[in-house]
Structure formats: structure tokens, C-alpha cells
């Protein structure tokens, strides 16, 4: 009996198990426990949530290993952590800590403005952000085992997440309707490998799980993303920057499961107290837009 670790099936399969769930950003063990108790399927351990990264500025990097280990010790659900785009050493460090998933994330300051991490070489699976289908397929080609559509992290404004889910969905639907001999040019236009383009055209979906992230702050936001075809949602600043995190977290979990039942979403939305104070994406100067990072 030969046991093989780190296969594409094991990496992509891990993401399949997260479907229909909410992954929450947490900065300490206490928040991680609140997230687990609220029904999160995983937590993302990071030092500063995107709203604070945005407010404080400076270079945002991988979190302190001590802090990640404390969160791992506090909860029984999977723990994810972020590495900077292209920073394969941070990724190696996170793998050695035994985190369950690495997010190669535009929320941190990129370390490489041309190359992303070669993710095939790792045993640990990666999730990467994408604003369109070509970007998603380039990340999958580099070994990403899960994709999350990018929103504008740390704003509480869901419009960018919406735009990118529509974009990815629309491009998939367009491929599905093409003649086979048109897929070569489609691959050229998407700047993505032909084999992956053909696979998407045939199956009508990405070869990996598609979550959504960035700007999701309410149960209705989560349900909106699910109805746009997301397999699940990441909620970053939206929970622990709100008035009542435990209740809001549980409410977002309920709305994600029953996204197609407005009554449940309505009940989940009652009496949650203050949502995070938002920033309109349109008011952000272009250099401060995180979702435009990644190539």
C-alpha cells in the first residue's frame, strides 16, 4: 500500500470539503474560537485584517509563526494563512508550520511583480485570487487548487466581488457556447493555456472550487455571492470589524447555506448591530486598489 501526499486530487479535494461554507479572517486565538463556534469551515490567520492594512499602510507580510501556531492550537477546523504573491519562501515557512491552505494573496504587498509562486512543488494546497477567467486559469496552471474571485478587500463594498463573479461566470458561459475550432483564439485572448480553456468549455465550470472574497459584510452579501455561483465565501474584515462579531458570523454562515431562501436571509439579518464602516471602492485612488494586484 503506497500512500501518496500532495496530489492534485488531495489538494483540490480539500477545497471541495469547504463548499457551502464561510472562511473567516481572524487575528488571534479568541477570534478563531468565535469563528469556529459560529460555524466557520476554516479560519484565515493573519496579523491585520485588510481594513487595518488599508488604514495603517506600509508593507504587509506573512504573519508571525507564533501567532499562527496559537490559532492552530485553539481550533479544530482548518487554518489557512497568507503569503505574499511570488514569495515562495514565506510559502515554504507556512508549509513547515502545517497550515492547511496557503492564500497567495494580493492583500499582502506583492514580493514579485511578474511571477507567482510555482505551486506544484508544494504538498500544501494554494488558493489564489482572480478578477477574470484568464487570471484564474493562469493560477490553476501554476498549481492553485482553489480560486477565489477578488473583491476590494477591507472596504465592506461588495461591488468589486460582484463584478468579478459576473466576469468569470460570463467568460465561462461564453466558452461553453463556442465552436471547438474557436477555442484556440479564445485561449490566446484569455492568455491562458489551451488545455484548461478546452476543459472549461467542456465542463462549463472551473476545474477547481471557486469561492469569492473581498467586501462581503452582511448575510445578504454572502447570499448574493452564492447566488452568483460561488461555492462559498471568505469574509475578512466584515466580521471582526462589526459591532457584534459572534452573531454576525453565525448569521453569515446561515445565509450562505440558505442563500436561495430570502426568509432565512431576512431572519439572519435581524438585529446584528452595526456592520463595518465601509469605504466606497470608487473613492479609493487606483494605487490603493488591492484587487488590481496579480498578473
Amino acid at each position: 500500500m503506497t500512500e501518496v501526499t500532495g496530489t492534485a486530487r488531495v489538494k483540490r479535494g480539500m477545497a471541495e470539503m469547504l463548499k457551502g461554507g464561510v472562511i473567516m479572517d481572524v487575528v488571534n486565538a479568541e477570534q478563531a474560537k468565535i469563528a469556529e463556534d459560529a460555524g466557520a469551515v476554516a479560519v484565515m490567520a493573519l496579523e491585520r485584517v485588510p481594513a487595518d492594512i488599508r488604514a495603517q499602510g506600509g508593507v504587509a507580510r506573512m504573519s508571525d509563526p507564533d501567532m499562527i501556531e496559537k490559532i492552530q492550537a485553539a481550533v479544530s477546523i482548518p487554518v489557512m494563512a497568507k503569503a505574499r504573491i511570488g514569495h515562495f519562501v514565506e510559502a515554504q515557512v507556512l508549509q513547515s508550520l502545517g497550515v492547511d491552505y496557503i492564500d497567495e494573496s494580493e492583500v499582502l504587498t506583492p514580493s514579485d511583480y511578474e511571477n507567482h509562486i510555482d505551486k506544484w512543488g508544494f504538498t500544501i494546497p494554494f488558493v489564489c485570487g482572480a478578477t477574470n477567467l484568464g487570471e484564474a486559469l493562469r493560477r490553476i496552471n501554476e498549481g492553485a487548487a482553489m480560486i477565489r474571485s477578488k473583491g476590494e478587500a477591507g472596504t465592506g463594498d461588495v461591488s468589486n466581488a460582484m463584478m468579478h463573479m459576473r466576469k468569470i461566470g460570463g467568460e465561462i458561459r461564453r466558452l461553453s457556447s463556442m465552436r471547438e475550432d474557436e477555442l484556440y483564439v479564445a485561449a490566446k485572448e484569455l492568455q491562458a493555456p489551451y488545455a484548461l480553456v478546452k476543459e472549461v468549455a467542456e465542463t462549463g465550470k472551473l476545474p477547481v472550487v471557486l469561492f469569492t472574497a473581498g467586501g462581503i459584510a452582511t448575510p445578504a452579501d454572502a447570499a448574493l455571492m452564492m447566488s452568483m455561483g460561488a461555492d462559498g465565501v471568505f469574509i475578512g474584515s466584515g466580521i471582526f470589524k462589526s459591532g457584534n462579531p459572534a452573531q454576525r458570523a453565525a448569521a453569515c454562515v446561515k445565509a450562505t447555506t440558505f442563500w436561495d431562501d430570502p426568509k432565512v436571509v431576512a431572519d439572519a439579518s435581524r438585529g446584528l448591530g452595526e456592520a463595518m464602516v465601509g469605504i466606497n471602492v470608487a473613492d479609493l485612488p487606483a494605487p490603493h486598489r488591492l484587487s488590481e494586484r496579480g498578473w
Binding site: 500500500m1 503506497t2 500512500e3 501518496v4 501526499t5 500532495g6 496530489t7 486530487r9 488531495v10 479535494g13 480539500m14 471541495e16 470539503m17 469547504l18 463548499k19 457551502g20 461554507g21 469556529e36 463556534d37 460555524g39 466557520a40 469551515v41 476554516a42 481550533v75 479544530s76 477546523i77 482548518p78 508549509q95 502545517g98 497550515v99 492547511d100 491552505y101 504538498t123 500544501i124 494546497p125 453565525a250 454562515v253 446561515k254 447555506t257 440558505f258
Partner: protein, 198 residues
Amino acid sequence: MKVGVLALQGDVREHISSLIACGVTPMSIRRPVELEQVDALVLPGGESTTIAQLSEVFGIFEQIKDRIADGMPIYGSCAGMILLANEILDAKQGQKSFGGLDITVRRNAFGRQVDSFESDIAFDDGAANLVRAVFIRAPWVERVGAGVRVLASVDEHPVAVRSQTIFATSFHPELTGDHRIHRYFIEEVARPALEKVK
């Protein structure tokens, strides 16, 4: 035969595809009224803590527990195995399970995601008939009660067990496109039990 898949969270779609391949009519179950319509139930892979919690919040927890006690055929993979176990080790504080299967299960027993693996294993004495098994942050069984039969093991840890109408695997047959494990549940576990009731 109407087979439900508990669809609160997890890899529901994959189980539904496997069940269709076995020739039954699967149905997603989230509400108590939906559960009433099915003869058998599958608990998917996912996060056992999340699924247990949502079952309670949406008022289906006790009903599933009662149906299991009444002999409804049920199969759980990975998180599903944890939800069927009478006793859970390394659980979240206060974590509940539907129970019914007299085993003690250890969560994430094979380790974290870096240790997740796939392997060919012999199922139900079918040494010549190997099954590709995918283990993802998988549990194993540490104690089996009287009347629980071990159908497969990895390094001497039971990973597939059965007691009457309750069947559980700590691996994910729904991820491989090989439907023999689902067929075993339908043909060897569910169908004989349902025919006996008739």
C-alpha cells in the same frame, strides 16, 4: 429508492453524482420536510462542526437522530463518519454528533492537510478488489463496539465500518469517480434494509 444527501455544507454535488451513477434518485436535504421524503440518507464530507451546528440551528438534528434510531439506512464519508460516531476524540468543545454507530472516532487523526493522502486499500476483504481511497484531514476509528464490522483499515486503523443500516468511511469515494462504495451502500446496506421493512 429515494436517497437524500444532507446539503447544509460540504461536497454534496459529488455525492449526488455518485448516487445518480448508482441508478438512484438523489435529493438535497436541508429542511425537516425534505428529510421526510427520503428512504435513506448520505452525510457528505465537509466540516463536522459546521454541519452539526447548522443541523441544530435549522431544526433537523433530532429528526436525523430519530430516523437513524428507527433504522433509516445512512452512509457518512469523513465528516459524515464523525457525525455518526457515538464518541468523538479531539472534538471541538461541546461538539455534537447524531450518533447511532457504536464507535469512537478521532478527528483529523491522520494529521493536517500536509498529511492528507490517497492510497489503494482493500475493501470488505476484497484484497484483489482495491479501492482508491482519498483521505483529507481524515478521522480514523479507535474503538469499535459489539456488532460493528470493520470493512477496511489503514495501518491497522479502521477506516470503513458498518453496523446494520449504518455505514461510514473516513475516506472520500465521491472524489474518485469509482462508484463501488456508493453501490455497496445502496445494494448491500440500504436495499436489503428497505425491502425487509416492506
